[in-house]
Symmetry: C2
Subunit: 315 residues, 2 copies
């Protein structure tokens, strides 16, 4: 799967992921009205949740249609869908399927991870197939999933097995983009190295079991907001693809990211969520207006791609 | 919420959680047949998933009806439902609601955790209410959720806020029950203390913002399979309720757990999943047969309760 992602990145010359993290405040009024006319009640929870989830779906569809030809991948954040209950999970399911139909690589930002038998169930849920009555059936079926490493190898190995079996990939959290990520991740261990470096080393090791060419199907999440740590991790994990969140709304710029890439210009893919999907609410793209939310997203994606191409060129 | 849990534990004199982690191989044949007659297609994914999820729901209902008067709480593991896609999430939703109607405390074993804004969405999804069109609506609405601490305070605080706002609770992973949990959790830091102790200290600190009597709504997950670490953490976090998985199928016994409890006989609640819900498949309870799966579960729960009462008495 990592080679499929790399192929898309090269074809579009854009190491960019659009984060599909819709919240009610991003959704234009005309879509809320359309949702109220077009929703189907699922029967679980208030119908207002069905309407909200339908609005999320219409919003996503607009964004995806506007950016599918210029970006290689999308990353729906499942929390933004779970908060609407079953209707929200239906919107997630429809979004994943629609994006895959459009030829986009789908990174399910689910940050799952548990003891072995439970991680195996999560791996099946998001990347694999479940055996039922003699058939092997997909559940959510993203292309990649993000995974939390706190439980160690037990919690990761079932995901790697499914990656190999079903041609999928994962990104394991190593150094996250948020302000308090250092509380545990940066703690110095007795070897003098911080925890995130030990995690990075394990990610490299886990990745050896799922190599495809120069890169592994086991990638790493490294926040674009931490350029110094990114540089260290880039060197520590030369064959690991880095998924870097934190660009835009969280404060990172192309310049912060130049050392996340390898000399081949590959090795990293950068996510922006709010900065793209809610671009129409920002001054720089206000000219598109609420009705033009999708065109604004496209314009913001074009600008981000340009910024990253420069960052790679100047490294 | 922690006082509600304590009230239930005292009333039933049973510090026990039944883990509702159904897998296809636990479900008796007669329920699979019943499911094939009674399922409703949800329209998302193969109908075989609808049938499997219906079987899960019927199985859970049987177990819950058999144990609701003797145990205070249940802990559905959401991974076991997610693997069936949307139909599975519907079975999860129905299970949570049914258990709450039966007066059981529901611990959603979801192990969520992310950057602040995303953790806020997860907290809403599982414990809070989402604002839609002037109303605040519940989504999955468990009583407690398990949370992963790897992202630090940012990822926890939104959950604590929702606990305070909606009278709910969380259990934060500190020392997990699986064999490889030590890979990162036991790493010694420069202070000479392992990572799990730093996490335990933070859990105590986070918990101060949500106290109810002697205990906090912010609890900790500490694997019953690690009695030594449990003893250390019990002393380090005197006001933190411990959720201890790993009893039974993962190998821990009542004896391993005696030091997880405080002198008041409170402070811990112990989970068993397979050991109870699949008891009928074990020699000790085989006399109940497949049709008697629910009675077997009840008998296994009674035995576990007895074992834990002895452990508390002998501490």
């Amino acid at each position: 799967m990592i080679q499929k992602l790399i192929g898309q990145i090269k074809e579009k010359n854009a190491p960019v992921v659009v984060g599909l993290d819709p919240t009610m405040k991003f959704i234009p009024g005309h879509l809320l009205k359309e949702a109220a006319r077009t929703y189907t009640p699922c029967g679980f929870g208030s119908e207002k949740l069905d309407i909200a989830a339908q609005a999320v779906w219409l919003f996503n569809k607009g964004i995806v249609d506007a950016v599918a030809d210029i970006v290689p991948a999308v990353k729906p954040q499942v929390a933004m869908y779970e908060q609407f209950g079953i209707p929200g999970m239906i919107a997630y399911y429809k979004t994943v399927n629609y994006c895959r139909e459009k030829g986009l690589i789908v990174i399910g930002d689910v940050k799952r991870g548990d003891i072995g038998s439970t991680s195996a169930a999560y791996a099946i849920a998001h990347l694999g197939r479940i055996a039922v009555d003699g058939e092997k059936l997909p559940a959510f079926d993203e292309d990649f999933a993000t995974v939390n490493p706190y439980l160690g190898t037990d919690g990761i190995k079932p995901f790697v097995d499914v990656c190999n079996e079903c041609d999928k990939g994962i990104f394991v959290l190593v150094k996250t983009s948020n302000p308090s990520s250092g509380e545990f991740q940066d703690v110095l261990t007795q070897s003098g190295r911080p925890v995130f470096e030990l995690v990075g080393e394990k990610v490299r090791e886990w990745g050896e079991a799922s190599m495809e060419g120069d890169y592994s199907n086991v990638g790493a999440v490294v926040g674009a907001t931490y350029p110094e740590q990114g540089k260290i991790l880039r060197a520590l994990m030369p064959h690991t693809y880095i998924l870097a969140p934190g660009y835009g709304a969280q404060g990172a710029t192309g310049k912060d990211l130049s050392y996340f890439f390898n000399e081949d210009g590959l090795g990293a893919i950068v996510n922006s969520s709010r900065g793209i999907i809610a671009a129409y609410q920002k001054e720089a793209y206000a000219r598109f207006g609420e009705e033009g939310f999708a065109e604004a997203a496209r314009a913001a994606a074009v600008d981000m791609i340009e910024d990253l191409r420069e960052a790679i060129a100047s490294r």
